[in-house]
């Protein structure tokens, strides 16, 4: 394939999706008599760069990064299952229950900071893996469809959380307050922010604090890429997704793969709530951020189930959330962001399917041309 065609195969779909998102939200904006250019430039100026008030908006960029980290983990959690045709819809329940358990147990003791943080991360990952593992076991042992079991497990998790939280694990001092909370983690479990590093580079982050969990996200992202593309396990996983019968014929144990993928997915889901717990509020609360699990599915879809794609998608979502706040001051309904997200998702999946098909056709054409040339040579 020529360079142009190759570029189109990689970038075509995301660009089409973005254009569709802009198009649909523009239509929605025009329907309510608002100027799309006004809205988008407000988002851009508030979220990324404003030439009038001092250039790059570092505070916003830090917020976008902080938002992107949980989205990224949730996206990876969904992506690993999607890669092999396994749909873990239960990331939402998995991360919430992990966060609650990790905070509850983490506040019970205090040790040397790095160890404390590590223990909390491990507890969260194990809890998430265990909760997802139920769905994995049901699938492997009893042939229960994972879409249904993870949806059911979500509701079970929500109720279990509310029972544990409101009856046993809440901090009695917060009862009666608007926001009921658990006992906060001791300071040994507080992650330092990366602001000193930013300041060393001459960046003024103002009141925003860049969480050092960003570093973990980068590491996990690389590990995810390495595992999928450079290990036997990753190869088997991708093979199972492309053609389950072919994978089985080549000796891949389907049941073990399902269980492992589900456990890893749940473990990654366990990391979703960690930024809030380790860097921000240090506690579980009634206003603990929700919906990361569902948004993570969208991140995985737009990011094509790869680590790099998920990172970009998570940043995009982070930007939309942060930039959306600018719409408030412009008196434009923030819900425009939802329309944008929804149409980007739908357009992305359609565009990916179409570009994929186009690329396959191109490959087939190139292959048959090569075969013909070879035949001519030998003749």
């Amino acid at each position: 394939m020529s360079l142009g065609k190759r570029l189109f195969a990689v970038l075509g779909a995301p660009v089409m999706a973005l254009v569709a998102g802009l198009l649909f939200s523009s239509i929605a904006l025009l329907l309510i008599d608002e100027s799309p250019t006004n809205a988008f430039s407000a988002m851009w100026q508030y979220g990324v760069y404003n030439g009038d008030t001092g250039g790059i908006q570092w505070a916003s960029i830090i917020e976008i990064l902080n938002q992107a980290v949980p989205l990224f983990f949730a996206g990876l959690a969904a992506a690993i299952g999607f890669r092999m045709g396994l749909f873990n819809i239960g990331v939402e329940g998995q991360y919430l229950i992990s966060a609650l358990v990790a905070v509850y147990l983490g506040a019970k003791f205090s040790v040397w900071a790095p160890i404390h943080v590590l223990i909390i991360l491990v507890i969260a990952m194990l809890t998430g893996a265990a909760w997802a593992g139920i769905a994995g076991l049901l699938k492997v042992k009893r042939n229960v469809n994972e879409v249904i079991s993870t949806i059911m497990l979500n509701y079970i998790a929500f109720n279990l959380i509310s029972w544990l939280f409101f009856n046993y694990w809440r901090d009695e001092r917060s009862v009666g307050a608007l926001n009921i909370v658990t006992t906060p983690l001791p300071e040994t479990a507080w992650l330092p922010s990366l602001n000193p590093v930013l300041e060393a580079f001459g960046v003024n982050p103002r009141r925003a604090e860049l969480s050092s969990l960003v570093i973990l996200a980068v590491i996990v992202g690389f590990a995810f890429w390495f595992m999928l593309n450079r290990t036997q396990f990753g190869y088997d996983l991708r093979a199972s997704g492309t053609s389950a019968p072919a994978a089985q014929a080549s000796g891949v144990k389907a049941k073990a793969m399902i269980l492992r993928a589900m456990l890893i997915s749940g473990g990654l889901a366990g990391l979703v709530g960690m930024l809030t717990i380790l860097s921000e509020t240090h506690q579980y609360a009634t206003d603990f951020p929700k919906n990361y699990g569902f948004d993570g599915i969208a991140v995985a879809l737009i990011g094509r189930n790869s680590a790099g794609g998920a990172a970009l998608a998570a940043l995009l979502f982070g930007f939309l959330r942060r930039g959306g706040q600018a719409l408030l001051s412009e008196q434009i309904p923030v819900e425009i962001i939802n329309i944008m997200t929804g149409s980007i998702i739908l357009a992305a999946v359609i565009a990916f399917a179409m570009v994929n098909r186009w690329a396959q056709n191109e490959e087939t054409k190139a292959l048959s041309a090569a075969v013909e040339a070879k035949e001519l040579e030998t003749a």
């Binding site: 229960v144 249904i148 949806i151 059911m152 509701y155 029972w163 309904p333 998702i345």
Partner: protein, 420 residues
Amino acid sequence: MTISQEARPEAPQPKSLVKSFFTNRVFVSALIAMSLFSLIRILTGTAEMSSFQSWGAMLRLAVPILLAGLGGLYAERAGVVNIGLEGMMILGTWFAGYGAFAWGPWRGILFGMVGGLIGGALHALATVTFKIDHIVSGVAINIIGAGMGRFLSTVFYVGRTDAGVTQSPRMTGSVERFTVPILADVFKAMEDTDWFLIGDIGGILHGWTRNISWFTLLAFLLVPASIYLLWRTKFGLRLRSTGENPWAAESLGVRVYTYKWVAVLISGALAGMGGAYLVTEQAGLYREGMTGGRGFIGLAALIFGNWRPAGVATGAAIFGYGLTLQLRGESAAVRALLLFAGIGLLLYALWQFRSRGVNSLLSWIGGVLLIVAYFMVEEIPAEFIAMAPYVLTLIVISQAAGRLRMPAADGIPYRRGEAH
């Protein structure tokens, strides 16, 4: 476990309906269950277990789940998995809210169906025309549905005093209600006797005959209508053939794409109707988040019911009963139900005595544990009542997984002309 009986795939239709009814194992086990239920009500003295108000409430709470489940049924029978039901239902609630406040409840219902239909059209476009993975498209539609509800409210309701971004104005009027003459009074008399079994059956039937909305009746009539349409007409046979083996269907001249499109559109309209029911019968207005995952529960009812209309209705009834207990806060009744479930499990274990399998053992343990719990626990936390239907679904599906049979080509994107 009555489900396992219904779950026999494609059982041959019995010749004499009346005769087979009384020898039917479903009927016999239902009678045993009912007797046990009645016995426990009398022994524990929990009258709330079968007051006619509870049964009436159950009916109302079951309908949205039933409609969503039936919606899922049409799509999945045509081979399109529809986890976008929740999003379509949300669209249904918004549109129904608008229609109902502007032109009254019946137009509201129609509007709700149109709202769901829009969601269905999106899903059909993505899955049938563009061959996108069905789960992926469904997830996207759920996100879009939620976003659209918010957005449309902002556009239409901001600035009104009687509505806002999260809710519509209250609807004008309501769907007419009826009470079945004579029968309702007969059943009431039966209920009032409070006798063993007679009193309970009277309570149920009384709840189902007094003060019933025409919309409820319409929804329940959709069950036999769907059975007829899908299993007794040419249209139904063709629709189901596209879910079982679209390649063979195409080769026989069935326009597979058209049938799948129609099925998904019906699916969306029914889910929208379920949303409309929430608006016109329960809240009287559109409120954000009012579906509360009922689209997903409808999907569970569909699988629970083995992709059959009567099964979906059974599943919806169980979820409806669970919601009734939860919303009415009847913890005494729930506690009595522990005893009911425990003894029921022991009976089941006894019936399975010869099998000596793991299931039998688990049933013994579960039964004993439930009975112990009944005597140990003073009051059951509301959260456990709320999660019970989901746990039950997981148990039933995992127990019956071998007997449940989804349409053979369910969830497989179909491309015309591809060999398979």
